[in-house]
Amino acid sequence: MNSTIPNGTPISLRSWPSSSKPQEQDAISVFFERINREQGGLRSITEDGLRQEIAEAEEGKAGKQDEGDTEEEDEEDPLDRKKELLMARDEMLGHIESAYHSASVTLDFISLLLSKDTPVQATLSMSPALKEIVPLGTLGVDRLQAPRIDKAQKDDNKRIAKGWKIQNINKTVDTILDSATRLEKEIESETKYWGEVLAISEKGWAVCRIPSEKQTLGVRFGFPEASLTFKNQSLAALRRNADGSIALDQGFAGSEPQVLRVRVQVNGVDTGSSAMPNAVADTAPVEAFILQARNTIFSSELWQELNRESRILGGLGVQAVDDIIVLSFNSTKKIVLDLVPLNDSTPLSSQPDDRLAEGIKLSLNLLLSFAHRQNHRRRTQPPPPISGRKRQTPSYNLLRPIITRLNHQRSIDALSSLLSDLRSIFSSASLSSNAEFKITHSPPQPPPIPNISNAERTVLALTSSLEATAIFKITPTTTISVVSQTAQAPAPTIIYIITLNPESPLTVRFSAPAQPLTTFTAVKEYILHATSCALAADHTSRSPSDNEIHKSAPGKSGWHLVVQPNVLRKIFEGGKGKHLGFHFDRKEGSGLRFRVVWDWMRFDLNDDSNIMLGKEEERIRGEGVYEWRSKRRQGGKEWEDGEGEVVRSLGDVIEGAGRWVDV
């Protein structure tokens, strides 16, 4: 209990007045002590003197408070604090000691009490001092009076105890029954959940664990051969609702259901649209949602690939503007593609081009599936050696096959129209009825890839090179053959291979082009010029070219070819000559025109470079022009009855042109 009190600390022989003893503070003796100590006794104290001292003390506090009072307070504060701490410590120690003593005494008492019955155990807890003072077993305890609890009270207590027990047992039973009910519901929910999961798996969907939530099952609704972005979004969690039914959770990747829409527009007005399915109702089974998710991700990938491909097809009339892709179908119609959300609205009324739009949409879907199949084929082939170069997946061919087929169709239509017009003119001009043409389409030849399925073979046949052959017999000696072939790489193109039959007189003077032609315009120009040359060659005479013809000879005789293969010349006796030219042209809106022009030779006999073919204002007697047109007037209308004039045959025209006329 000795404390290390520093030497400088003033020690009072009397205890400090304690604040915890307020009653003592008020005792008169305390006041007397204070007066004697502070004022030096009672004799010098008066009331006025005390009031004056108080006033002075207050004035003095204000003046001396800065230094002296502060110093005094600073000196007194730490001392009071220390003393307070010491006092508190002493008090606490006192209490602890008191409690210890009480506990020790109690322990000794109990030990002594127990020493009568269990001396060994009691000895262990008895203090040595007590053992010396008091022998063991000298303290006993006994009941002096019987308990005052009678039999009735005992029975009552028993009944209360029984009641409590029954109450608690009932509570336990209720709890167990609740648990059983809850467990039964849980089992029903789980059974329903697993039943639906099994149904999903049996329908062919791949069910697996979610990688980030190993305890949750998910369904893979996407396509294994899709691009990596879409493969990563193709897993949805199968979450159990409270009633055990399954809810499909696509997480952050989930988006509203979408579908690719194909529309046909003429001058900005829709004339056809692909079918728009409705969104799945909330009450539909989970398989419907899975199917909808699959269709959505398929449409999303299709849209992305279409955009990717459209960037390199700008030169072929494909435009990607805002959120739509526009593709030209023909001169008036456009195909518009966009990705739209599914809606619940009533279906649109049928329009004339609905089948075309639906056909294009189905084609795009099939082509994307085919691209997936090609990805699979590429992936399952033995890989090339690692070379540091990253293997690029080529862009899918989605629009190119459609553009190729459209171009091919347009080309065949144009060729057919041209040859039809030619035949019509031939018919008008009473030319040989053998002027026929035929267009045959070569059967599709898919590339010889081994182990290919029928579906792949069909798609390859429809999208690989398309070929058609047009054979036009102009005259009995001249037949033109035009083979049209398509190619998709690097861009959709058509090449035309033109050949003449070997016996044709044109092979010498106007042979077929050695290289394939790449535009229809070039083909058209060749066909028209070749036809005019063939007709000219067909009306030449067998007599030597430098023979002069008698003026009375028939008009058809004596014509010979000149340098220009579509021009004939006839020299009458006396040296005067005539030219006869054959010419085809075609103008938009007015169809095909065949002109035969004849005029007198105005220049040197041997100079054919300035043959004039019909400047009307310079025509003189014996010159003229005749023309035939295909059966289409301007505006594409047929000739009405009574319109036009009687058509002469080519033979008659040549006959008239070749007769001598005195100028």
Binding site: H376, P382, P383, P385, G388
Partner: protein, 292 residues
């Protein structure tokens, strides 16, 4: 037709050989269905099953026996393939090797001798002028160098050359003095995952006495016995699962490291399922010791 390497790339000029990186493990026959299912799920494809007839040829054991290829044969080859033959010639003129010729066979090709009767009797002398039936089928010639020293490597690596889809290989290999030693049938399931090829194979040997004939030079040309008569090469009928990746240039550390990383990643992923490991380089030594 140009030489093709695994992956179907055409070789040009010096780009003839490849470095093959591989690891192997063994699989018991009873575990094969499970192994196939695991690999099918891992690679996302159905197994490509095949049967291959492997004819093993050994080079001469004496230096004078090393012969050149027929120059006319090489000159007839298209440019890319000719380079491959020239390279092979350069290797085989200075060192004798064990070369394997591999032919894809259909299951229906087995047992034709039993169906159509014995093709030859024991007295019949092989006719050297007879066209070998194996020459009429396109085959693959595979040459491998001794695997590189292990050192700090974690996968086996070796130089390799394959000439695929070539007819007349047996005649060509015989013309340079190589002799047929044995043949075996490789039953294989193949899977592909990225740049790595998984081959699950077992090797079957033909019965020793086929129609009473011993192993003559024409034995490799004989019709195959019934498939049921083949016996596993391994006494425990174990299969070998090999994962391999080919590298374009073995001296390019970046390419080699990419191949090694891919194989090691697969090894780690399959820990506990398949124990892929390296094999001693001398077990795959294809060099023939030249005595004289």
């Amino acid at each position: 037709m140009a030489a093709r390497h695994p992956g179907g790339q055409q070789s040009t000029g010096k780009d003839i050989t490849r470095h093959e990186l591989f690891l192997t493990t063994s699989v018991y026959n009873d575990d094969i269905p499970r192994a196939v299912r695991i690999l099918q799920g891992y690679c996302g494809m159905k197994p490509q099953a095949s049967l291959r007839r492997r004819l093993v040829w050994e080079g001469p054991r004496q230096r004078p026996g090393l012969r050149d290829f027929d120059p006319a044969f090489i000159s007839r080859q298209p440019p890319g393939r000719a380079e491959a033959w020239k390279y092979l010639h350069g290797q085989m003129i200075r060192q004798s090797y064990i070369i394997t010729l591999i032919y894809e066979v259909e299951r229906s090709a087995f047992g034709q001798a039993q169906i159509h009767g014995a093709q030859r009797s024991s007295e019949e002398v092989p006719d050297r002028n007879r066209t070998l039936s194996c020459d009429q089928s396109p085959g693959t010639l595979k040459w491998t160098e001794l695997p590189d020293p292990v050192d700090s490597r974690t996968v086996n690596t070796r130089l390799m050359l394959q000439i695929e889809n070539e007819k007349g290989l047996c005649t060509v290999i015989q013309s340079i003095g190589y002799r047929f030693t044995r043949q075996m049938i490789q039953e294989c399931y193949q899977f592909i995952n990225g740049n790595v090829l998984f081959e699950l194979s077992r090797y079957l040997q033909l019965p020793e006495d086929v129609d009473g004939t011993s192993q003559t030079q024409s034995h490799f040309d004989s019709p195959l016995p019934a498939f049921e008569h083949l016996t596993p090469f391994d006494s425990q009928n174990k299969w070998v699962l090999t994962i391999s990746a080919n590298v374009f240039n073995g001296k390019d550390q970046v390419q080699m490291q990419q191949g090694i990383s891919e194989l090691m990643a697969i090894k780690t992923e399959f820990e506990g399922c398949f124990n892929f490991h390296m094999v001693g380089r001398l077990t795959l030594d294809t060099r023939v010791k030249i005595i004289g």
